[in-house]
């Protein structure tokens, strides 16, 4: 009963409906943009929207299959051989590149694939253009997977990263579980979701704004007086408030997540769910498919959400008005948007990957490493630990603060 009415209190406020719908609209717009702005290029011109998606999908599906050393060697070789015909080669005074039919018929339909292959051969933290595939030595075959392993080793052993031996082992052990050869295919829908998860931060912020009055609203309206002077006002009511806030937050956010996932998946298709995420970036050391990576990323985001809801409830229990709650919570969401990683392993860099904005990012390829005692954690586990602890600490505190609240003029 109490839960039901606490939940009704939240959803019956006009502001709740307006803010929730605003969040839904924002999520729809954010996750529709990659579809609306999608472009495919042909010799005849640019194709946009669903037509472009369909064109690129067909092109990439032609490359679908197991990426064995032989397959990769053949494609790189084919690319290199195109340069042997001078009519295919353009020169801008510095670099040579493919032009004409060679470009339009070979490179363009395979752009995404060729970029992935080229990145595998690029030195760590540097992105080279596809033209440099010409320089890949094929005398012993492509050695694609060996190059990949070496690149990951170089990445984790880079002295600038300052990773300890146990931290390096952590990543190498994780990477050793990645199965090769990779299965290639069309995975655009999942790519879009994974590359834009941080946009869900606005959904979390709006949920927290909606929940700001859970306790503070009672103080502001004066209803704290009748609640706290009633039998269950200092006990069951508080539990019901916290549960209602969490359930509302999870439900509302889930609708944002459903919207965020369904738009790209409806537009691009669900194909690719079972493909390894390494086909977007070969240095990713996680042995995961797109679906698994998406689920893990969202589970972490849900823990971040619960942590931030819990913090909002504590601030709400402490402040006399929901406006004061927002004055504390909104900057907590917005300031991290302007903080840039400095590329080191220092405290600042590690911290900003835990703050709300970057805590919602999928950082599968970034080797962000934390250590708690003898335990090495990646960014996802560190976020789970931090925001999980945040909930465990702040929820009982919120309960205590409301219970001890003094009703004064």
């Amino acid at each position: 009963m109490l839960f039901k009415y606490e939940f009704l209190k939240i959803i019956k406020r006009k502001s709740t409906i307006i803010i929730f719908l605003l969040g839904l609209l924002m999520t729809t717009v954010f996750f529709s943009l990659p579809v609306i702005q999608y472009q495919a290029f042909t010799q005849e011109g640019m194709i946009t929207g669903f037509e472009g998606i369909s064109y690129n999908k067909n092109s990439q599906l032609e490359l679908a299959g197991l990426l064995t050393e032989e397959v990769i060697t053949d494609i790189i070789l084919e690319y290199q051989q195109l340069f042997e015909d001078p009519s295919n080669v353009g020169y801008d005074g510095r670099d040579e590149f493919l032009i004409g039919d060679a470009y339009w018929e070979f490179v363009v339909p395979r752009t995404k694939f060729l970029r992935m292959v080229m990145n595998n051969y690029s030195p760590p933290d540097i992105i080279l253009t596809v033209d440099r595939l010409r320089e890949v030595d094929l005398s012993h075959g492509a050695q694609f997977y060996e190059t990949r392993s070496n690149k990951i080793e170089t990445l984790v052993q880079n002295p600038e990263r300052e990773l300890s031996v146990s931290q390096q082992d952590f990543w190498l052990e994780k990477n050793s579980q990645v199965e090769t050869s990779f299965e290639y295919g069309f995975s655009e829908g999942w790519d879009v979701i994974l590359s834009a998860t941080e946009l869900l931060l606005f959904g979390i912020l709006l949920v927290c704004i909606i929940l700001a009055p859970v306790f503070a609203g009672e103080y502001q309206s004066g209803a704290d007086a009748i609640i706290l002077s009633s039998k269950y006002g200092k006990t069951k009511v508080i539990v019901a408030k916290i549960l209602a806030a969490l359930v509302f937050g999870l439900l509302a956010f889930s609708l944002y997540v459903i919207m965020a996932c369904s738009i790209p998946l409806l537009a691009f298709g669900v194909e690719g769910w079972n493909l390894p995420i390494q086909i977007t970036n070969t240095v990713i050391p996680y042995p995961l498919t797109f679906l698994q990576a998406t689920v893990i990323n969202f589970l972490v985001i849900y823990i971040v959400l619960i942590g931030l809801i819990s913090l909002t409830l504590l601030v709400s229990a402490k402040m006399k008005s929901p406006y004061f709650v927002l004055m504390i919570m909104v900057p907590l969401f917005f300031i991290p948007l302007f903080l840039q990683p400095d590329g080191t392993t220092g405290f600042y860099n590690l911290l900003i990957y835990l703050l709300p904005y970057r805590a919602t990012m999928s950082t599968f390829s970034q080797f962000i490493t934390y250590q708690v005692g003898g335990i090495v954690l990646d960014a996802f586990m560190a976020r789970v630990l931090l925001y999980g602890l945040m909930s465990i600490i702040t929820l009982p505190l919120a309960r205590y603060v409301f219970k001890k609240h003094q009703v004064s003029a």
Binding site: M1, K14, S229
Partner: protein, 297 residues
Amino acid sequence: MQISIQNLSKEYSKKTAVKNTNLELTPGIYGLLGANGAGKSTLMRMLCGILKPTTGRIKFNDKDIETLGEQYYEHIGYMPQDFGFYPDFTARDFMMYMAAVKGLDKKTSKSRIEELLTMVNLQEMAGKKIKSFSGGMKQRLGIAQAELNSPSILVLDEPTAGLDPKERIRFRNLISDFSKDRIIILSTHIVSDIAYIADTILMMKQGDIILQSPIEKATEAIKGKVWEVVVDIRELDTYTKVFTVANLQHENNKVRLRLIHETPPSATAIAVESTLEDLFLYYFGEIELNGSVEDVV
């Protein structure tokens, strides 16, 4: 049943709201009278266990209310000032919520809510949102929620504020209906409310209880201090500056004044019977009444 208030004080950083108060409350209606800022609400909040005293204690049947916790709160019905929470709830939803907060089971709640909404004449508005209610309707809903758990201690803070005369009469009748075997504490700065329904008057000034008296004996404190005098209209200014004027009535070129003063204000003054309004004026003086004579009496 007894509430014992012992050496109770509440101090804020800049002022003392309640000063070393001692009271024994047994079943009956207590009218807590005082001007704004006298400490009435603070005292009531401490009585309801929602504001911690700086010093002193409150005992319910010889047990400290702080240690009683839920066992004390289930005896409390409280209606704070400016009632009108949850504007998007219907009256029935609000009552169902409050019934749950007060620990009533669902079945009991439904029948009790219908009974109370009928009693406060809101049964036809039960399905309407509180934001559409008039001030009087909100006050009636406030008393209904306070009464949900049939509390043995009913604390009503300025329950008649903002009510029109008809609603005030209805409200007084309601309180009288509820009063049997209970402690009802009713704060107001409207003297006539107390005159009609209270058994005992508690008068508060600047945090002190300055008078505790059965209602019928309350005016004894000013017996022989209320005078009626007819003066020339030209003398009116002098009289109003020197004496506390309870009433004035123009009669041609003369003015009939009702004055409160320790001694006869003139040789022609006649001692008259004192009322609660006179008592209020005696204690609070004209300063308290500036611009609010009608509010107060």
